[in-house]
C-alpha cells in the first residue's frame, strides 16, 4: 500500500531564500528519496517570522508543525527524529498557529501568506479567495465604492488618504478609458510587506485590483513593481498568466461583462517612483519627474485618463472588506485609523518580520515584546518609523500607538508601516546626513528646494560633523529644513527634514561635536 505523501512546506519567499531555503528544500527532497519516503514539498510564502527562516512546516493530523531555523545540514537529523510526522527535535517549535508571534496577530491581508501554495488558484479559492470578487460582481460600481468608504480604509502607501473617496472620484469621472495602477515601488528601507504578499499570495492583490476595476469602470491595470524584487516579479508574472488562463481576469472577469487586462511593469531603480505622479510618468515611459497637483491622478492620471493609484496593501485589504463587510473591517483599529496594518519590523532587532495587527498597538509592544529588543543585545537608542522620510524616535517615545494621528502628533509618521531599530552605536548626525544624501541621489530634480536643498543639507551636515561653527550651522540646518518642508513639490523634499529634525531634536548630543583635528599632511 502507498500512504499519501507527507506535505512539507519550505518557503520560496526571497527572505527565506536569502538564508538558505533552496538548499533546505533540495536536501529534504534528496533525503526523502534516499529513505524511500513519499513527500510533497510545497513552496509556500513566509509566515513572517523571519528570524526563524528557513522555517519548515510539516502537515500532521494535529495541524502544521514548525521547525526552524533549518539549515541543509540539519535535514538528516530531522528525518532521524521523525519530523515527517511531527517528531521531537531541537529545532521543533510547535504548532505554527499556536506560536506566540502568530497568535498575537489579526491577519486579514496576510491570512493566507505562508499557508497556501502561492500560485495555486485552487488553494487560494479553498482558503477564501475570490469571495470578495464574487460579491463585488453582484454589486454596482457605486455600491462597491460605498463599501470601501464605509470600511474606513485609508491608503497604506503612507499618505493615509481615504481609499473610497479616491475611488468615488474615478467612478464619477467620465472617460472612455480608465486605469487601475498598483504602486508596488516599495522603496522605503524597513518595508517588505508588498514583496511578501506578491511572493506568498499574489492573487490577493490581483483580486483587489480587479474589484477596483469593476468599481470605477476601468478595463486596464498596471502593477508598477520595483526592479529590486526579482522574485516577486517572477511570481507575479506567473500569477497573472494563470489568472488569465482561469478566466479570472482578461476579456471577461469570471464570465461577467467586465473586462480587465493586467500587466506588471518593472521600475528601474528610482526611489521617487513611489510618489504616485512620478510613477505615472515612469509608466508612460518618461523620466519620472513629479507632476504638480492638481490635476489629481484620479481625474487625469495615466496617459491623462482617470486613474486609481493605490498601494499594494490598500488593494490587498479590499477583498476582505467585500467578503466580510465594511463594518467588520471598521471594527478593527482606533480613532480614524480603521482596520489592520501589516507592520514590518527590521534593522537591529532580535526577532524581525511581518506582523499584521489592528491599529493601536504601541511601538514598544512590537519592538520589545514581539521583537525581543536588539539583535546586538545592546540598548535601543533610536527607532525610525515610516521609511527614510520618517522620524527617528527615542527609546523613551516607544509608547506611542501605531495610528496615523498619534504619530503625526509627535511629528512622526506611520508611512508604509516599516520600523527600523538601531542600537546605541548609532551616530544620529550621520543618520541626518544620510537623509540628505539619499534625497540628493533620489530627487527627481523638478523643484529647487529638494534638488538644491538636499545637497546643501549634506554640506551643512558635513560641517556640523566636522565641528565647524556648530551653532551657526545648526541654524542653517533648521532654516533649510523649514524651506524644504514648506516649498518642496512632493513628499521627497518635503519630508526629508523629518528624519533630520527628529535626529537633531531628540539626539542633540550627537550634533554637539568638537572640531575635528586637522588631518596631518
Amino acid at each position: 500500500m502507498s500512504a499519501a505523501p507527507v506535505r512539507i512546506f519550505v518557503p520560496i519567499d526571497a527572505a527565506a531564500l536569502s538564508v538558505g531555503a533552496e538548499a533546505v528544500a533540495q536536501a529534504i527532497a534528496s533525503e526523502a528519496t534516499t529513505r524511500g519516503l513519499s513527500v510533497e514539498i510545497v513552496r509556500n510564502g513566509s509566515r513572517g517570522m523571519l528570524w526563524l527562516e528557513p522555517l519548515v512546516e510539516v502537515e500532521t493530523n494535529e495541524g502544521r508543525i514548525a521547525y526552524g531555523p533549518v539549515a541543509a545540514k540539519d535535514v538528516a537529523s530531522l528525518f532521524d527524529a521523525g519530523f515527517a510526522s511531527g517528531g521531537a527535535h531541537a529545532l521543533r517549535l510547535g504548532k505554527t498557529e499556536e506560536l506566540d508571534w502568530m497568535k498575537r496577530q489579526q491577519r486579514l491581508a496576510f491570512e493566507r501568506v505562508g499557508v497556501i501554495d502561492p500560485l495555486s488558484i485552487a488553494d487560494y479559492r479553498a482558503h477564501g479567495g475570490f469571495k470578495g470578487l464574487e460579491k463585488a460582481l453582484a454589486l454596482t460600481g457605486g455600491e462597491i465604492v460605498e463599501a470601501v468608504k464605509a470600511s474606513g480604509l485609508r491608503g497604506r502607501g503612507g499618505a493615509g488618504f481615504p481609499t473610497g473617496i479616491k475611488w468615488k472620484t474615478v467612478h464619477d469621472a467620465k472617460a472612455e478609458q480608465k486605469y487601475i495602477v498598483c504602486n508596488a515601488d516599495e522603496g522605503d528601507s524597513g518595508t517588505f510587506a508588498d514583496r511578501m504578499l506578491f511572493e506568498g499570495d499574489p492573487y490577493l492583490v490581483i483580486e483587489g485590483m480587479t474589484i477596483a476595476a469593476i468599481a470605477v469602470g476601468a478595463t486596464r491595470g498596471y502593477i508598477y513593481l520595483r526592479s529590486e524584487y526579482p522574485h516577486a516579479h517572477r511570481m507575479l508574472q506567473r500569477a497573472i498568466l494563470k489568472a488569465e488562463a482561469a478566466g479570472l481576469i482578461g476579456a471577461s472577469i469570471l464570465g461577467s461583462e467586465h473586462a480587465f487586462h493586467l500587466e506588471v511593469r518593472l521600475g528601474a531603480g528610482a526611489y521617487i517612483c513611489g510618489e504616485e505622479t512620478s510613477l505615472l510618468e515612469s509608466l508612460e515611459g518618461k523620466r519620472a519627474i513629479v507632476r504638480a497637483k492638481p490635476p489629481l491622478p484620479a481625474l487625469q492620471g495615466l496617459f491623462g485618463k482617470p486613474t486609481v493609484v493605490n498601494n499594494v496593501l490598500s488593494f490587498a485589504a479590499v477583498p476582505w472588506i467585500l467578503d466580510h463587510g465594511a463594518q467588520a473591517y471598521a471594527d478593527y483599529g482606533m480613532g480614524r485609523s480603521r482596520g489592520t496594518l501589516p507592520v514590518q519590523l527590521g534593522g537591529n532587532v532580535r526577532r524581525g518580520g511581518l506582523i499584521e495587527l489592528a491599529f493601536g498597538i504601541s511601538l514598544r509592544e512590537i519592538i520589545e515584546d514581539m521583537g525581543g529588543g536588539t539583535l546586538s543585545g545592546r540598548p535601543i537608542r533610536a527607532v525610525q518609523v515610516g521609511g527614510p522620510l520618517g522620524a527617528y524616535l527615542t527609546a523613551g517615545q516607544l509608547d506611542v500607538q501605531m495610528d496615523y494621528e498619534a504619530l503625526a502628533a509627535m511629528r512622526a509618521m506611520l508611512g508604509h508601516g516599516g520600523i527600523v531599530v538601531f542600537d546605541d552605536s548609532v551616530d544620529m548626525a550621520r543618520q541626518a546626513r544620510f537623509a540628505f544624501e539619499f534625497c540628493a541621489k533620489e530627487s527627481c530634480g523638478k523643484c529647487t528646494p529638494c534638488r538644491i536643498g538636499a545637497t546643501r543639507g549634506v554640506e551643512t551636515m558635513d560641517r556640523i560633523i566636522a565641528g565647524a561653527e556648530v551653532p551657526k550651522n545648526i541654524a542653517v540646518l533648521r532654516d533649510l529644513s523649514k524651506l524644504m518642508t514648506d516649498a518642496s513639490l512632493c513628499a521627497m523634499g518635503g519630508l526629508t527634514p523629518m528624519p533630520v529634525l527628529s535626529a537633531l531634536n531628540h539626539f542633540p548630543e550627537d550634533f554637539d561635536r568638537p572640531p575635528l583635528p586637522l588631518a596631518a599632511e
Binding site: 526571497a14 527572505a15 531564500l17 536569502s18 538564508v19 523571519l50 528570524w51 527562516e53 516599495e186 522603496g187 522605503d188 528601507s189 524597513g190 518595508t191 517588505f192 508588498d194 514583496r195 486596464r220 526592479s227 529590486e228 524584487y229 526579482p230 522574485h231 511593469r265 518593472l266 521600475g267 528601474a268 531603480g269 528610482a270 526611489y271 515612469s282 509608466l283 508612460e284 515611459g285 518618461k286 523620466r287 519620472a288 496617459f303 514590518q344 519590523l345 527590521g346 534593522g347 537591529n348 532587532v349 524581525g352 518580520g353 539583535l375 525610525q384 527614510p388 516599516g418 527600523v420 531599530v421 538601531f422 542600537d423 548609532v426 543618520q431 544620510f434 539619499f438 533620489e442
Partner: protein
C-alpha cells in the same frame, strides 16, 4: 554569472519592434535590451525614438534618469549591496569599510577583477540584513568576506 553577447543592432531592432505595441513601451524596451546585452548601447536611442515616435532627447532622458540602465558593458558579476537604513543598523557601512581595507574592493567605483559591488537602497530583506543581490538571488546576513568571495568567484568563471 551573466555572459552577454556583444551589442547587435539588428537583434536590438527586433527586440524594440516586438515591444512597440505596449502602452508606454520605453521602460519595457530598455529592460529587454539590458537583459539581452547587459547594457543599453547609445545606438538604441534612435531605434526606440523611431519605434515610438519620440525625440532622441526624450529617450536619452529616460535612459539617463534611472539608476538601473547602464550605457556601457558591465562587469560579469554585479553584487548589489544594500546601504539603506535597516542595513545600516546592522553594520553595512562596516562591510563597506572592510571591503576596502581588507579586500581592496571600493564599492561603486572599482572593478575588482570582472566584478563590481554597487550600492542599492533596500532589497526588502530588512529583518535579515545586511543584504546583497547577486545574479537575481538575495543573500541575507552578508559580511565583507562573503562579498569578496562572490567577486572572486566572478573572476574565476569569466
Amino acid at each position: 554569472m551573466a555572459a552577454y553577447p556583444a551589442w547587435d543592432q539588428d537583434s536590438a531592432r527586433m527586440i524594440v519592434a516586438g515591444l512597440a505595441h505596449l502602452e508606454g513601451a520605453t521602460l519595457p524596451m530598455l529592460h529587454a535590451l539590458q537583459d539581452e546585452f547587459g547594457y543599453v548601447d547609445p545606438q538604441a536611442v534612435p531605434l526606440i525614438a523611431e519605434a515610438l515616435n519620440l525625440s532622441r532627447a526624450e529617450v536619452h532622458g529616460a535612459i539617463s534618469f534611472y539608476h538601473d540602465f547602464k550605457t556601457a558593458p558591465q562587469p560579469a558579476r554585479i553584487v548589489k549591496l544594500c546601504r539603506a537604513e535597516a542595513c545600516q543598523a546592522l553594520g553595512c557601512e562596516t562591510v563597506v569599510k572592510e571591503l576596502s581595507a581588507k579586500h581592496g574592493i571600493a564599492v561603486d567605483d572599482h572593478h575588482a577583477g570582472d566584478a563590481i559591488v554597487e550600492t542599492v537602497y533596500c532589497l526588502g530583506n530588512c529583518a535579515l540584513g545586511p543584504s546583497a543581490l547577486v545574479d537575481g538571488e538575495l543573500i541575507g546576513r552578508v559580511d565583507a568576506a562573503r562579498i569578496a568571495g562572490l567577486c572572486q568567484h566572478g573572476k574565476a568563471h569569466s
